[in-house]
Amino acid sequence: MDLLGLWNYWAVIVLMMIGLYIVIARDNLVKKMMGLSIFQVSAIMLYVSMGKVEGGTAPILPADPSESDVLYSNPLPHVLMLTAIVVGVATTALGLAIVVRIYDAYGTVEEDEIGAVDRQES
């Protein structure tokens, strides 16, 4: 098994686990959003790294159109990830907007304190 050669997958796994850990273990809502972003980045890394063809160059047409022997990396995953990045941005923006509203309503962005306020009220 080519463990070292698959280092990109290791990176993906590490990022995914870090992201998930932060989401679960941290109480601060803003930090949760950061964790979620890291988690989403790991998926992006997966796609981008899978697009790399060994010996391939960036998928941009060369200045000289007659060069036919160029090996390109796969452009499709990059394109897909542009969309995914946008989705990630939108999610982060929405999440942080909700956090701002939560701060207005509760006075805190710590999950345990929010829970305490809710329990006190009921």
Binding site: L29, L46, P77, V87, A90, L94, G95, I98, V99, R101
Partner: protein
């Protein structure tokens, strides 16, 4: 009308920013209603076309698949399109003329924009034939849904929306990872193409992981036990109309994605025989059915009862799927339709109650049965459908599910399905008793049924639960056709 498939998406998609521009309350509302009705019309036309002429394949921008994005409408997605757009068409005009719940003045155009975006996303997931497109529309609908949920009156709606955002995004990302892995092994994103290219690589660990990520990701969206944590809070604290819409559509579309993935992409043989997924899905489904119903019995708020009931009902749908026989799949698919009617109708009943009473706590419902008879009758009928009394759609779903259990030889599971319906009797009847009986000492003067603009959509859905309990040609007939098609056609 060869462009119908793309119009199904383009119309609500473009209508959303138009809503942002239209400031006048009544105008934007009317506009949104008309768009929703147009979507329903398109969906019905597509269903008719598919029934007559077979699968429709539409190439976006005339780029040929598998490189171009294809919208592929077969009987399964046409069926789901009709369900989603019908719910949208019924819920959108709900309470026309009364203020939208929880909205501050001057925000209604944004509300309708979000609503239409959610509708776009849901319709998009259903109609597309490209795997990555599914992810994109999934995120579109989810983001809109997070927004809508956070608009609830109580500040807990915000935390509910936030939790849903976190969990939903994790789910969506898992689906993205799964799509990535499938792309790695097959080189294509077109679903029909994937179906052809997967068999040679089904034995690879990558594909096993892809299946796992996909099922987990979709299960989060579908609120399959134990990944259901976001649902009770989200449905309880969202504005009731939003709950009605989401309860009747969002989970249905996620179920569609699961069915599509299992039967069209991977193939039933791989998923059930090789990977043995029913050993995972069936116990979880049974747990959902029982624990969801039991939890519903102990809730103090009407919306929470319905939310936990939804978890149980999703369990029924998943159970039908896990049998992987014709009756089971028919049962799951017909319950898609039936549950949309039941839950949509019941949540609209709650919306009417909240409008009149200002609360949906069960303790506040004492004796309202006498003053709000039409609303209460709707609740009783919806409740009877949840229980599965014959003459209602709930019975039709139970019929197929129990037969599926008998077909696969599990008499125990058959009994369990019937036993869990009895749990529904407890939580439904508890509410019926409170509404009809404990009326003394509560002055209910001046209380009356909500306005017609609320009663009519409610009764369209509730009446549907009885109508389709007797004429099942459209629902069960189509569902069994789809089941047959999925089980034989796709390997």
């Amino acid at each position: 009308m060869e462009h119908l498939p793309v119009l199904q998406i383009v119309i609500p998609l473009l209508a959303a920013p138009v809503c942002v521009l239209l400031r006048h309350h009544a105008t934007v509302r009317t506009f949104a209603v008309l768009v929703a009705w147009t979507c329903l019309g398109i969906a019905l036309t597509l269903l008719a076309e598919v029934r007559e002429g077979g699968t429709i394949s539409y190439h976006l921008g005339n780029w040929a698949p598998p490189l171009g994005i294809e919208y592929r409408v077969d009987l399964l997605n046409a069926y789901v399109l009709v369900i989603v757009s019908a719910i949208g068409a019924v819920v959108m005009p709900f309470g026309f003329g009364t203020p939208e719940p929880g909205l501050r003045d001057g925000q209604h155009h944004l509300y309708y924009a979000a609503f239409l975006l959610c509708l776009t996303g849901l319709l998009g997931i259903t109609i597309t034939g490209d795997a990555f497109n599914v992810f994109v529309f999934l995120e579109v609908s989810s983001l809109a849904a997070y927004t809508l949920i956070s608009l609830g009156q109580h500040r807990r709606a915000l935390t509910a929306g936030f939790s849903y955002l976190i969990m939903g995004s994790i789910g969506g990302t898992f689906i993205l990872v799964a799509i990535g892995m499938i792309y790695m092994m097959t080189g294509t994103l077109n679903m029909a193409d994937i179906a052809e290219r997967l068999p040679p690589v089904l034995g690879t660990r990558t594909i096993w992981m892809a299946l796992a990520f996909l099922i987990i990701g979709v299960s989060i969206k579908l609120a399959v036990f134990p990944l259901h944590q976001w649902l009770p809070n989200a449905y309880s604290y969202a504005p009731p109309v939003v709950s009605a819409f989401l309860a009747a559509t969002a989970t249905k579309v996620s179920y569609y994605v699961l069915v599509r993935a299992i039967f069209t992409l991977f193939g039933a043989a791989f998923v059930f025989e090789t990977m043995g997924m029913q050993r995972l899905l069936m116990p979880l489904a049974l747990l959902a059915m029982f624990l969801g119903s039991i939890a519903a019995i102990y809730q103090e708020d009407l919306k929470r009862v319905l939310a936990y009931s939804s978890i149980a009902q999703i369990g029924y749908m998943t159970l039908g799927l896990s049998f992987a026989n014709e009756d089971g799949l028919t049962g799951g698919l017909v319950h898609l339709f039936n549950h949309a009617l039941m839950k949509g109708g019941l949540f609209l009943v709650v919306a009417g109650i909240v409008y009149k009473l200002g609360s949906s706590a069960i303790g506040d419902l004492r004796g309202i049965g006498r003053k709000m008879p039409v609303t209460m009758a709707a609740f009783v009928i919806g409740g009877l459908s949840l229980i599965g009394v014959p003459g209602t759609v709930g019975f039709i779903s139970k019929w197929y599910l129990v037969l599926a259990a008998l077909d696969s030889g599990s008499y125990v599971v058959a009994f369990m399905i019937l036993a869990s319906s009895l749990l529904a009797v407890v939580y439904v009847w508890r509410i019926v008793e409170v509404m009809y009986f404990q009326g003394d000492g509560e002055s209910r003067e001046g209380l009356s049924d909500p306005p017609l603009s609320m009663l009519i959509p409610t009764w369209v859905l509730i009446g549907g639960t009885i109508y389709f309990g007797f004429t099942t040609e459209l629902t069960a007939g189509t569902a069994s056709e789809i089941a047959r098609m999925l089980l034989e056609g796709a390997k």
